[in-house]
Symmetry: C2
Subunit: 146 residues, 2 copies
DNA sequence: GAAAACCCTGGAGCCACTCCAGTGTCAATG
DNA sequence: CATTGACACTGGAGTGGCTCCAGGGTTTTC
């Protein structure tokens, strides 16, 4: 099949597929005479694996490692378990941070219940004060809210 | 004060401060004879406001809007309230998505309790199957876990 | 007066895509 | 057989919010 069909079948974007190939997440595709990429079922499986991992919010580097294990079935999978444990830890941490954040935002929101002049808006005032709550000091592994 | 002291006092990085100036979040700083930026207390306040908003995971565009309100005290603050409500909504949504994700990851982790050959690893097998759970179809406003 | 600490600019790099312009290929019509 | 339209190709730029760097200049301290 060609890249468009592959994209549909794996719920990906054609640009994403080409990108994965370029950075070596996926092997170089075979080409037709007219220089179109064409793919077989094994490729579909591999791409689905990748997309599933991405849906679980793993980085491409993590996925690269998992793919190596997939490709060497005689290796032992302790590292796979470790990777997943670490990843779960990141997610858990991020949930806690966001929950804290949500609490602070709701507190802030309560400071301005009615429409008034910005001069007197409790929210703007709240944002100007030096609250330290939920202040992530270092770059967090699990990203922000945008 | 110079940029280094400002950075310490606002818990920012000097590069970040220069970056904010460049993209117009902060006004152009005054310069000394030797071409060093120098700042007064109002600038400290403004930067603290920005850092506080960032700690609350707002985008720089959102912050730009809030700064405009800060600068026009006679305007009414309905938009500030709306911005915050929307932001809270994003955070709440993201928490729900991550919680779902965590559940799926823990389920996946249970599939491989002991170290074995990758061939038989339940995690790799689980990642290869076409589970749809937690599949974010569209770009999420609140970002991922990395 | 020399060394260390600080500051300057412009530009590249990060992640994981996403979008684009300009061009080429191919299957189905007129 | 020519045209149209859908699809594909490449290389490069853009996203957000920084972060880091090279190669220089300035200021402070000993």
């Amino acid at each position: 099949m060609r890249i468009g069909e592959l994209a549909v079948r794996t719920d990906s974007d054609v640009d994403t597929i080409r990108y994965y190939e370029k950075i070596g997440i996926l092997p170089k595709a075979a080409r037709t005479e007219g220089n179109y990429r064409h793919y077989g079922e094994a490729y579909v499986e591999r791409l689905r694996f990748v997309r599933h991992c991405r849906a679980l919010d793993m980085t491409l580097d993590e996925i690269r490692l998992l793919l190596r294990f997939r490709d060497t079935p005689e290796a032992d999978c302790a590292e796979v378990n470790a990777l997943l444990d670490e990843h779960i830890g990141h997610v858990t941490t991020r949930i806690a941070a966001l929950t804290e954040l949500e609490k602070e935002l709701r507190g802030l929101r309560r400071k301005c219940r009615r429409v008034q002049q910005a001069r007197d808006c409790g929210i703007l005032a709240g944002l100007a004060t030096d609250s330290q709550a939920g202040r992530p000091r270092k770059k967090q592994h699990i990203a922000g809210t945008h």
